[in-house]
């Protein structure tokens, strides 16, 4: 039984459909990321859930109750904003207590819960400070405490880390996940940063042009992308073409890549040209010809870039470029020079078939 249910959501701004019949079910306690490029409708969808944007069509059901017609102040959702949105004229304590004061619980209970929430985000002792006196990370933690202290039905995070610097961002995202798991609150996390989404989500809903392309676990999204957009958007991919030379059975065909044949688990038609994606880290290179299942073909190293843990090689084979990322532990990058010839190879199971049928 799903806790949050988005049914056929539609939103139109000035005759442009920003969200197109969006469907998603989220289980209780799940952390789901909305991931997509800007303009994909992820923030609009979040605003519809929070009630800041009217729903044109469709339903939003939380815990069995439809909420899409309620004003935002009646929806009991906690939101953390990109720019923190703390009340600048209130102390940290008053910011966190704001929602509790409205719910008319006692003064001592308010105090207890505020202090508890501040302790949870490791800001005990900051009660009397004003937002302007806090760093960005601290402000974001106050914002998180303020959203969680009212024990909302849903926690909505709108690109909460994008205003923080890289190091702090990583710390904060771990902290957010930890708190989210401890509290056990169902959470939606909007982001355009795929690394962030992969790192923290139970499931990722990859969005593109107002639709959810795929909603799956990070591992499935990365390893088994269901659409070309997901393949290209998550991680990096090389696009390659192969020609079907032989059908070996259902879901078993022989294809020719760069003059070498390889058996791939796809359904195909004989002589068809097929597109595949392959991730740079799944391409191996060696100075000698490789063996068995992996096809090996000759390629020239056009450029190489040292990236710390790995080295990126831009290869050229049959006038097409391929990017290969090789761990520096596996292969010493000093052995391979720009301009030298190498053998490139990949395993057939790493090929991601394109859905784009030609």
């Amino acid at each position: 039984m799903s806790y949050l249910c988005l049914e056929n959501l539609v939103k139109t701004f000035n005759k442009t459909e920003v969200v197109k019949k969006l469907n998603l079910e989220i289980k209780q306690g799940e952390l789901v990321s909305f991931l997509g490029p800007s303009g994909c409708g992820k923030t609009t969808t979040l605003n519809m859930i929070a009630g800041f944007t009217e729903v044109d069509e469709g339903k939003i059901v939380v815990d069995g109750k439809p909420v899409h017609l309620l004003p935002p102040n009646k929806r009991e959702m906690g939101m953390v904003f990109q720019n923190y949105a703390l009340f600048p004229h209130m102390t940290v304590f008053d910011n966190v207590a704001y929602g509790l004061k409205l719910s008319k619980i006692g003064k001592s209970e308010t105090q207890r819960r505020v202090l508890e929430a501040l302790e949870m985000v490791r800001l005990s002792g900051y009660e009397k400070r004003y937002p302007k006196e806090l760093s960005g990370g601290q402000q974001q933690r106050v914002s998180l405490a303020r959203a969680l202290v009212i024990k909302p039905k849903l926690l909505l995070l709108d690109e909460p880390l994008s205003n923080l610097d890289a190091k702090l961002r990583q710390e904060m995202r771990e902290e957010i996940v930890e708190i989210q798991k401890n509290v056990g609150i169902t959470t939606i996390f909007v982001t355009h940063d795929q690394e962030e989404a992969l790192a923290i989500s139970d499931r990722i809903a990859v969005m593109y042009e107002g639709r959810i392309e795929q909603a799956d676990s990070p591992v499935s999204i990365y390893n088994h992308p269901k659409t070309d957009f997901v393949s290209r958007f998550i991680g990096e991919v090389n696009q390659i073409q192969g020609k079907v030379t032989e059908i070996l059975g259902t879901h078993q065909s022989k294809l020719n890549f760069y003059g070498n044949e390889q058996i791939v688990a796809v359904n195909a038609m004989k002589n068809a040209e097929m597109d595949f994606f392959i991730r740079p880290e799944n391409i191996q290179i060696s100075l000698v010809e490789t063996n068995d299942r992996n096809i090996g073909f000759k390629a020239k190293v056009e450029r190489k870039m040292f990236l710390g843990a790995k080295t990126r090689y831009i290869l050229k084979a049959q006038n097409k470029h391929l990017i290969a990322d090789i761990s520096n532990v596996v292969l010493n990058s000093n052995l391979i020079h720009e301009g030298s010839s190498v053998y490139a190879a990949w395993k057939p199971e790493h090929l991601l078939p394109s859905r784009n049928v030609r």
Binding site: P72, N73, N83, A85, H89, Y98, G99, L102, Y130, I150
Partner: protein
């Protein structure tokens, strides 16, 4: 190190050079006359030459010990305060709506608000005196409706002075409040709603406190302009509703008692300054967060 210092001096020189024109005007046409005014206020009055060459504090003693003059001080401050409060009350909703309008409509509405400033002060005041006089539009309308038997005394009262001042000064307040309304981050409003506050609660807990700096800036402008205004009280209040600026004018220009007029002028500046300082102190104390902001 040396170069850095030289660079700094050059920068300072530029700053002063840019400030020079306004400084010249400020010093020669404001501070210097003010200084002479101050000197004059401590001189005795001489019927033949105006200013006699003798020092005295009698001008101040005379003014501050006479209930008649003190009454005028109170009236001046009262009119300015009333004007300020009324402008706040009528300007806030206007500013609120304009700040929510968009694009072209916003520009037109702003222009409309500024329109009282486009008309000459004297013409606008005579307009009001036509409306408010015993035989004016307001009284005639009320009488023909049968609501009153004889005309109400509207003109040459504190009321008519306040009406005239509010009319000319409210644009300052609207612009000032609008500025602070537009500076409010929309997501702060959303955060308040998200935490369960309805529109009314959000307004009083979030919007109003965050616009206090705007209200304050507008109030300082309106108060200091109305406490020292001369044309409006002169035309709409006349000799019946004397205020300090009128009194100073009367002493200096009609009775030619320059030292006494100077003393009154100085007390007026003093009162305005004190009020503004007190006002800002109260504000800072009540709204620490905004002051920090």
């Amino acid at each position: 190190m040396m170069q850095k210092k030289r660079k700094k001096t050059k920068k300072q020189l530029e700053t002063w050079a840019l400030l020079l024109p306004i400084l010249v005007i400020f010093i020669f046409f404001f501070l210097l006359p003010l200084f002479f005014l101050f000197i004059t206020s401590f001189k005795t009055f001489d019927a033949s030459s105006g200013i006699a060459n003798e020092w005295t504090i009698q001008n101040y003693v005379k003014f501050l010990s006479d209930p008649f003059y003190l009454g005028i001080v109170w009236r001046t401050v009262k009119i300015a305060l009333l004007t300020t409060i009324i402008t706040i009350v009528i300007s806030y909703p206007v500013a609120f709506h304009i700040s929510k309008a968009n694009g072209r409509i916003k520009n037109y509405l702003t222009l409309l608000v500024l329109s009282p400033l486009l008309i000459s002060m004297v013409i606008r005041c005579y307009g009001w005196s036509i409306l408010l006089s015993n035989n004016g539009v307001v009284n005639n309308t009320l009488m023909s409706l049968g609501w009153i038997d004889k005309p109400l005394t509207l003109l040459y009262t504190e009321l008519s002075v306040v009406i005239g001042m509010v009319h000319v000064l409210f644009p300052y307040m609207v612009l000032s409040i609008m500025g602070s309304l537009e500076r409010i981050d929309p997501s702060v409003i959303r955060a308040s709603q998200n935490l369960g506050a309805g529109p009314v609660r959000t307004f009083f807990s979030i919007v109003l406190p965050l616009t206090l700096p705007g209200i304050f800036a507008g109030s300082v402008m309106v108060f200091s302009l109305s406490v020292s205004s001369f044309v409006t009280p002169a035309i709409l209040g006349g000799p019946q509703v004397k205020v300090m600026s009128y009194l100073a004018y009367e002493q200096a220009a009609v009775l030619l008692n320059w030292p006494y007029g100077a003393a009154i002028g100085f007390l007026l500046i003093f009162i305005a300054t004190i009020t503004i300082i007190m006002y800002s102190k109260i504000l800072v104390r009540s709204e620490k967060g905004v002051a920090i902001q």
